[in-house]
C-alpha cells in the first residue's frame, strides 16, 4: 500500500515540469488577457478598470464584424478547396482497385507546401501574381484566356479568393495525411465485402468511408475552423500591413486585433477582441459538434 502511494507521488513529480510550463505560458496569459480586456491598458504604464466598455466597443465596431466576415469568406472558400482536394486524393490513394504505389512519396510532396514559411510563400505568390509583371497573368494572356491582366491582389473581389486558394495549397497536404490515416484505420474487410456485394464507388464512399471517417472529419472541421478564424500570417504578408488592403478586404479578425495590440497601443481593446473571437469559436465549435452528433443519432 505504502509503495503505491510513493509511486503516485513520483508521478506528480514527473508531470510537474509540464504543469509549471503550462501554468506560466498558457494559463497565466489567458487569465491576464481576460483581466486586461476590462482595462484601458496601453501595453505599458498603469491600467485602469473600464468595466465592459471594451466589449461594448467590440459589439458596436463595424470594422470588427467586417474583419470577421472577411475571415469567414476566406476560410469558407479555403476549407472547401482544402478538404475537397484532400478527400479526392484520399479516395484515389485508398482505392483498393487502383493500388497506388509510392504513397509515402506523394504524402511528402503534398505536405511540402506546409513546410515552407509563410513569408516565402507570400513573396513567391506576390511575384507570380503581380498585376503588370507577374508570370501568372503572362501565362493566361499567352494562352488567350484573358484579354487584360487581372489585378489579383489589388481588387477586392479577387484578393480574398487568392488568399483562400494559396491557403488551400499550403494546408491540403495536412488534411490529406489525416484523412489517409483515417481511411487506413478502416478495416479492409468492409471494402472487400462491399466489392463482393457489387457496391459501386459512390455507394462505398457514402455508406462505408464517410460514416467510419466521422471522428476524423469532426477533428478536421473543428481544428480547421479554429485555425481559419485565427488566420493572420498569409493575409498580413500578402496585403502588406494590418489594414488588409485593398480596401480592408484582407483584414482578418486577428489582423484587426494585432492593429490595436501592437500598432495603436490599445492592448485592453485588443484583449477584448481576443475574447470575443474566443467566444465565437467556442459557440461555432459546440454547434459543429451538435450537428455531427445529431446526424449520428
Amino acid at each position: 500500500m505504502g509503495k503505491k502511494k510513493d509511486y503516485n507521488r513520483m508521478g506528480y513529480l514527473f508531470v510537474l515540469p509540464f504543469v509549471i510550463v503550462f501554468l506560466i505560458f498558457s494559463v497565466y496569459p489567458v487569465l491576464r488577457t481576460l483581466y486586461l480586456s476590462f482595462t484601458d491598458y496601453k501595453g505599458y504604464g498603469t491600467e485602469n478598470f473600464v468595466g465592459m466598455a471594451n466589449y461594448i466597443r467590440v459589439i458596436n465596431d463595424k470594422f470588427f464584424w467586417q474583419a470577421l466576415w472577411n475571415t469567414i469568406k476566406i476560410w469558407s472558400v479555403n476549407i472547401v478547396l482544402q478538404i475537397g482536394l484532400a478527400f479526392i486524393l484520399t479516395l484515389i490513394f485508398s482505392d483498393i482497385k487502383y493500388r497506388f504505389r509510392g504513397l509515402s512519396v506523394f504524402r511528402a510532396i503534398f505536405y511540402l507546401p506546409n513546410l515552407i514559411a509563410a513569408t516565402s510563400v507570400s513573396f513567391l505568390f506576390k511575384t507570380l501574381l503581380d498585376w503588370r509583371f507577374g508570370t501568372f497573368n503572362q501565362m493566361l494572356m499567352e494562352a488567350g484566356l484573358i484579354d487584360m491582366p487581372i489585378n489579383w491582389l489589388g481588387a477586392t473581389t479577387t484578393a480574398p479568393i487568392v488568399i483562400a486558394v494559396i491557403g488551400a495549397w499550403m494546408w491540403f497536404g495536412n488534411s490529406f495525411i489525416v484523412l489517409m490515416a483515417g481511411v487506413q484505420g478502416i478495416s479492409t474487410e468492409y471494402f472487400e465485402a462491399a466489392a463482393i456485394d457489387g457496391a459501386g464507388r459512390w455507394a462505398v464512399f457514402k455508406n462505408i468511408t464517410i460514416p467510419l471517417l466521422k471522428p476524423i472529419l469532426i477533428y478536421i472541421s473543428i481544428t480547421s475552423l479554429i485555425g481559419g478564424l485565427q488566420m493572420f500570417d498569409l493575409p498580413f504578408l500578402m496585403s502588406g500591413g494590418v489594414d488588409g488592403a485593398p480596401s480592408g478586404s484582407l483584414q482578418t479578425v486577428v489582423m484587426y486585433l494585432y492593429k490595436f495590440g501592437f500598432v495603436t497601443n490599445q492592448v485592453g481593446y485588443a484583449a477584448a477582441i481576443a475574447y470575443v473571437l474566443f467566444l465565437i469559436i467556442l459557440v461555432i465549435s459546440i454547434l459543429q459538434l451538435k450537428v455531427f452528433n445529431k446526424k449520428e443519432d
Binding site: M10, G43, D61, F63, R132, A245
Partner: protein, 450 residues
C-alpha cells in the same frame, strides 16, 4: 528503481528551473556585432539602423570601451524593446528609435531624462537643428533622445529636362513649379506636352507631409490641402501623367537612369501588339522629378548611371521629413554615464560628424556647426549645388508641431482612401466617409466633424 525515478524527477524539475532562470542573452536571432577591445567596460546598443554598428566600432577604437551593437529588423524592433524594457532589463544601455516610435517609447518611460544632472542636454540645443531637437523631446519638453542626422524632403529634378522645357535649371525657379498641388498638376501637363512625365509614380509627394496636423485639439483635421493632395494623386494616375511605376520598384529605379516606355493605365505590358502600338504612338519618355528625403542624394548617386551629374534639388509644396535615427539612454541602464558618452559621441562631436559625412558618402548630419562648415561644398551629381546649405534651410522650415501620435494609422487610412478613388473602386465622397469611419473606429477619442 525507485531511487532512479526519484533522481530523474529531481533532475527534470531542476533542469526546468535552470532553463527558466537562465540568461536569454544569446537567444536573439538578430544580427549582432561586438568589439573585443579587452576593455573593462562595455555597453550594449539596440538599433534598427545599421549605421550604429559603424559608430560603435569607431567609439571602441577611440575610447577603448567595448560596444555590442544589436541590429534588429524594424518590424520587430518596438516589440522587442517593449518586451525587454517593460521587464525591467538593464540592457541595452543605449536604445535607438525612428520618429514614429518615439511617442510610445517616451510615454512608456523607456528613455532617460537627458535634461537632468549629469547630462544637462539643454546646453547643446543650439548645436542641433531645431526640428531634430524637438523630435527628441517628450510632451513635457524633456529631452529624451538626439539624432545625428536630418532628413528633410526635397524635389529632385533633372536639370537637362528643365533646360529643354523651361530654358532654365535654376532651383529657385523649379521650386515655383512645385509650390502647390494645382501648380504641380499644371507642371505635369506642360511636361507631358513636351514629351516627358513629371513623376515615375503618383506617390512622389508623400514625403511632403503637409503643413497641417492630422489631429488638432482632439478633432480630426481633414484640411483642404489633404483633399487637394488626393485630387492631384488621382488626376496624375487617371490622366496618364506618370510612368505608372511603384515607388522603390525596379521600373522606378530605371526611370532615374533615363528613358522608360510611355504607358497608360490600360496598357497591357504582356500583349506585344498593344505595347508595340503604344510605343509606336507614344515612344519613350524621361522622368522629370522624384520626391525624396535628403538621403535621396545617396539613392540617386547609386542609381542614376547615364544621368549622373544632371540633377538638382528644389523645394516641394510643403515641408516634410522622413525617418532619422534617434539615440537615447535606457532609463534602467546601470551604465548611464558611458551610455551618455556614446550618445554625445554619435550626435554632438564635430570630428565624428565629419568622419560620418565622409564614411557615409554624403549623409546629412544634424550638427549645425558641421552643416555650416560644409555649406560651401558643391555636389558634382547636382550641378555643383550646395546641398548641405539647401538641406539646412529645408530643415529649418519643418514645423514639428504638426506631427501627432496618430499620424501613422491615419496616414495609412488616408492612403487607402486615395488608392480606392484612384483605381475607381470608390467615389471621392464614399472614400472620405469610409476614411472617417476607419479613424472613428481606430481612435474613438478623436472627434470627427463630417
Amino acid at each position: 528503481m525507485k531511487q532512479f525515478k526519484k533522481l530523474m524527477a529531481v533532475l527534470l524539475v531542476g533542469s526546468l528551473a535552470l532553463v527558466g532562470c537562465g540568461s536569454s542573452g544569446s537567444s536573439d536571432s538578430s544580427s549582432s556585432s561586438s568589439d573585443s577591445s579587452g576593455s573593462a567596460d562595455k555597453i550594449v546598443v539596440w538599433t534598427l539602423a545599421q549605421d550604429l554598428e559603424q559608430f560603435g566600432k569607431k567609439f571602441s577604437e577611440d575610447t577603448g570601451i567595448d560596444v555590442e551593437t544589436v541590429v534588429i529588423a524594424p518590424a520587430d524592433y518596438l516589440t522587442k524593446v517593449q518586451s525587454a524594457l517593460l521587464g525591467g532589463a538593464t540592457e541595452p544601455d543605449v536604445i535607438v528609435a525612428e520618429p514614429q516610435m518615439l511617442a510610445t517609447m517616451y510615454d512608456a518611460g523607456f528613455f532617460e531624462d537627458l535634461n537632468q544632472e549629469p547630462y544637462n542636454a539643454q546646453q547643446y540645443s543650439d548645436l542641433i537643428v531645431d526640428y531634430v531637437w524637438e523630435v527628441g523631446q517628450d510632451d513635457d519638453g524633456i529631452q529624451r533622445a538626439i539624432s545625428y542626422q536630418i532628413t528633410p524632403a526635397g524635389m529632385f529634378y533633372r536639370r537637362d529636362i528643365a533646360m529643354d522645357v523651361y530654358g532654365t535649371d535654376d532651383p529657385e525657379f523649379i521650386s515655383t513649379l512645385f509650390k502647390d498641388y494645382p501648380t504641380i498638376y499644371n507642371t505635369a501637363i506642360e511636361l507631358r506636352d513636351a514629351g516627358y512625365r513629371i513623376f515615375a509614380s503618383d506617390g512622389e509627394m508623400g514625403v511632403f507631409a503637409g503643413d497641417d496636423a492630422w489631429v488638432v485639439d482632439g478633432v480630426l483635421n481633414l484640411s483642404q490641402a489633404r483633399i487637394d493632395y488626393m485630387d492631384l494623386a488621382v488626376a496624375l494616375y487617371q490622366d496618364d501623367l506618370t510612368a505608372y511605376a511603384s515607388q522603390w520598384s525596379a521600373p522606378w529605379y530605371q526611370a532615374m537612369k533615363g528613358e522608360v516606355p510611355i504607358l497608360t493605365a490600360e496598357t497591357n505590358v504582356w500583349d506585344s501588339d498593344a505595347v508595340a502600338e503604344t510605343a509606336a504612338n507614344s515612344g519613350t519618355t524621361e522622368i522629370f522629378a522624384f520626391g525624396l528625403p535628403s538621403w535621396g542624394v545617396l539613392t540617386l548617386r547609386d542609381n542614376t548611371d547615364e544621368t549622373f551629374g544632371l540633377w538638382g534639388v528644389a523645394e516641394g509644396p510643403s515641408s516634410g521629413f522622413a525617418g532619422g535615427s534617434f539615440i537615447g539612454i535606457n532609463s534602467n541602464s546601470k551604465k548611464k554615464d558611458t551610455a551618455w558618452e556614446f550618445v554625445k559621441y554619435c550626435t554632438l562631436d564635430a570630428d565624428v560628424m565629419e568622419w560620418w559625412i565622409d564614411i557615409s558618402k554624403g549623409d546629412t548630419v544634424a550638427h549645425i556647426p558641421t552643416l555650416e562648415k560644409y555649406s560651401d561644398v558643391e555636389n558634382e551629381n547636382f550641378g555643383g549645388q550646395q546641398l548641405y546649405q539647401f538641406w539646412l534651410e529645408q530643415a529649418q522650415e519643418i514645423d514639428y508641431s504638426v506631427v501627432t501620435q496618430y499620424d501613422t494609422a491615419i496616414g495609412n487610412a488616408w492612403g487607402d482612401a486615395i488608392n480606392s478613388v484612384k483605381i475607381g473602386e470608390k467615389t471621392k465622397e464614399d472614400a472620405i466617409n469610409y476614411f472617417y469611419d476607419v479613424v472613428a473606429s481606430t481612435y474613438p477619442q478623436i472627434q470627427i466633424n463630417r
